[in-house]
């Protein structure tokens, strides 16, 4: 597959006041495929904008190379790069009308007037702004300004379109509508979108692939499903959606599975292929919606149990906080499919918990407090 954009060992160090260095991006490698909707997702300050600005040509990498469609961009100024940007606060020219804003990029290419007029008309129709040609940016609503910014970049027919949190200033309803519209537009015209956002739901909704960033590094790249179902580290699991983290120690490995001792109290068997030494500390990630709770009627000495600590009704779902061990709680989400027809649980009640072992994700990271490690060595595990 062709790469629209390739970042090779890219670093960016800012030199601030009194010459203090700040590493915004460190040794970063990334390939973005031609024609995909690619999102850079991460908390504020992790370096998303800096990365995007290096692709656009507004910042020069301190080291490494930005390659667009096979061409190295070193020494190529922003105005000679085959990419266009939709800016965070739109950056519309206040002294020009909507039509003049959109025509600006074509005038810079010295196209004939007639061609400019027809292309501006076409793109304004595409973003549904006909009739507003002669307005100034300040006479438009936020959503309309957003569309002008989009039209102004699209009209240049770039191979890659860059977005820096373009929907951040819109209200929730409009933002949701624009997310779908942008996604459909990208599928329709087929060019590469590189989309910066700190909103994980937005990234999951729109993207073909997502890169999760933290502190100037990329932690994981993958499809929305990959990222959500198989996070490769605690940060990703925590940042995308909601997660329960249980910290434990491997006490046995056999037949593609491991047995983990949680908090020195509770054993769990989960499938895990890679070789892992006994005694290793691991983190188990369990998504709240993948757990079900049931009345503890069986009387069998089998499965997980816990006590109900809290019940919160939030409309679509009910959230249960279950005390699993003396140190760990488990958040469980139950969709309110029926009304009045679901099991109810009271605070302090002992319940049975079921979770499919293959929906538990094992991460080889984490640390236990020393007293638990002691416990593990001296006392045998309870039961399961």
């Amino acid at each position: 597959m062709n790469h629209a954009i390739e970042l090779v060992n890219v670093s960016k160090t800012f030199r601030g006041q009194n010459n203090r260095e700040f590493r915004a991006i460190e040794q970063l490698n990334l390939q973005i495929h031609d024609g995909e909707f690619f999102s850079l997702l991460g908390p504020s300050g992790c370096g998303k904008t800096t990365l995007l600005r290096m692709i656009a040509g507004f910042e020069t990498p301190t080291a490494g190379e930005v390659v667009i469609h096979g061409e190295a961009m070193r020494d190529r100024p922003a105005f000679h790069r085959p990419v266009n940007t939709v800016f965070q606060n739109y950056a519309l020219f206040p002294h020009l009308t909507v039509a003049e804003n959109v025509a600006f990029g074509l005038e810079m290419d010295n196209l004939p007037k007639a061609q400019i007029r027809s292309r501006v008309g076409d793109v304004l129709a595409l973003v549904k702004l006909n009739g507003l040609e002669n307005r100034r940016p300040r006479q438009l609503s936020g959503g309309q300004q957003q569309r002008v910014a989009l039209a102004r970049a699209l009209v240049k027919k770039p191979q890659v379109l860059l977005f820096d949190e373009p929907l951040g200033a819109l209200d929730l309803k409009l933002r949701k509508a624009m997310q779908l519209e942008l996604k459909h537009m990208q599928q329709q015209i087929g060019i590469t979108f590189v989309y910066v956002t700190h909103d994980q739901e937005e990234a999951l909704t729109m993207s073909n692939r997502i890169a999760v960033m933290s502190d100037g590094h990329i932690l994981q790249v993958g499809t929305p499903t990959d990222i959500y179902e198989e996070p490769n580290c605690r940060f990703v699991a925590d940042f995308i959606g909601e997660s329960n983290f249980l910290i434990g120690q491997v006490i046995e490995q056999s037949m593609g599975g491991i047995v983990a001792l949680i908090d020195g109290e509770l054993t769990l068997s989960v499938p895990y292929e890679p070789e892992i030494p006994v005694g290793k500390i691991i983190t188990l990630v369990i998504r709240p919606e993948k757990v079900t709770i049931h009345p503890d009627t069986s009387g069998e000495n089998h499965g997980l149990r816990g006590t109900v600590k809290d019940v919160v009704y939030i409309g679509t779902d009910t959230r249960f906080v279950i005390q699993l061990t003396s140190r760990s709680e488990l958040i469980v989400r139950r969709q309110n499919i029926h009304h009045g027809n679901l099991d109810t649980f009271t605070l302090g009640e002992q319940v049975q918990i079921r979770v499919a072992p293959n929906s538990i994700r094992v991460l080889e990271e984490g640390s236990l407090s020393p007293d638990i490690v002691q416990d593990t060595i001296n006392t045998p595990p309870k039961s399961v």
Binding site: F58, F79, T85, F87, A91, F104, M108, K156
Partner: protein, 294 residues
């Protein structure tokens, strides 16, 4: 119904207090305005006074204005109108040239200070404020000293003899006007969102086209109000002009001062009224431009 008497009374007192308060506010405002504008109003009124003496009102006349344009009034007073027109022309010439030069240089200084980080930037910034802060008289004397030293040097080295004239006045005005223009333009550039220039480059405009198509149009209101400010300051300047002007190169304010030394005639009131009118028009124009741009 009986119990309503007391609230009624309270209401009346409230109203009275409010009336007094409102009257007081008006009185203070009017007093302040009178203090500021009464002298000017008197000047304007007496420029239409038929009497030669400023103190007595002898009826309405346009004689003094006529005298400015015709030279001789019915009462036969010569206000040396040719000299007035010369002085006015000098003022406009000095104001015009110094405004153009100071506007271009001041804008460049403002752009450099806002956009580039270079050695000596802080020093330049401090120096820029100096002509605004230091007293006119200091500035005038230093310019005078500078010019005479320079002229002496030129005469001994090159044998060229230069004297104070309108050009030295112009240089003096340029020096202080650069600062005012730079400060005015700079505040405008500081308000400019840098993303706008990036957007222009993103759309394919190189540095030069970005400057002409985006930067300049957006800071133009600032440049224009800087220029108008410079022009008014130049027209009004007395002290610095007084020190840097040579014989026969007076501007209007210096000429008017010279006339007063001879005799205070209502013609001076007429000239002052016209100067007031011109300044007012320029300020209004500048305000209108600024309002339109924001």
């Amino acid at each position: 119904m009986n119990s309503a008497a007391s609230p009624d009374f309270k209401h009346t007192v409230d109203l009275a207090i409010r009336h007094v308060g409102r009257f007081g506010l008006w009185a203070i405002t009017l007093g302040g305005l009178a203090f500021l504008y009464l002298p000017i109003a008197i000047l304007v009124v007496y420029s239409f006074n038929a009497s030669r003496m400023n103190a007595v009102w002898r009826g309405f006349t346009l004689d003094w204005y006529r005298s400015l344009f015709a030279g001789v009034t019915e009462s036969g007073v010569d206000v040396t109108n040719a000299q007035i027109w010369d002085a006015l022309w000098n003022s406009l010439w000095v104001g015009g040239i110094s405004t153009v030069v100071a506007t271009i240089l001041g804008t460049l200084v403002a752009l450099a200070l806002e956009r580039f980080r270079f050695k000596g930037r802080n020093a330049l910034e401090a120096l820029l404020f100096l002509p605004i802060i230091i007293p006119d008289i200091t500035m005038g004397i230093s310019l005078l000293v500078l010019f005479s030293l320079l002229f002496q040097l030129l005469q001994t080295v090159l044998g060229v003899r230069l004297v104070l004239d309108l050009n030295t006045v112009m240089i003096g005005h340029i020096t202080f006007n650069i600062s005012y223009v730079a400060v005015t333009v700079r505040s405008r550039i500081a308000e400019l969102d840098p993303a706008l220039e990036e957007a222009a480059m993103d759309l394919g405009a190189d540095e030069l086209r970005t400057f002409w198509r985006v930067t300049l149009p957006l800071i133009f209101p600032g440049i224009l109000s800087g220029a108008l400010l410079a022009f008014t300051l130049s027209l009004d300047d007395f002290v610095i002009t007084f020190f840097t002007a040579g014989v026969g190169s007076t501007t209007l304010p210096v000429f008017v001062y010279g006339m007063i030394k001879l005799a205070v005639t209502p013609a001076i009131n007429a000239i002052s009224t016209l100067m007031l009118l011109a300044s007012l028009l320029i300020v209004l124009l500048s305000l209108a431009l600024q309002r339109r741009s924001t």
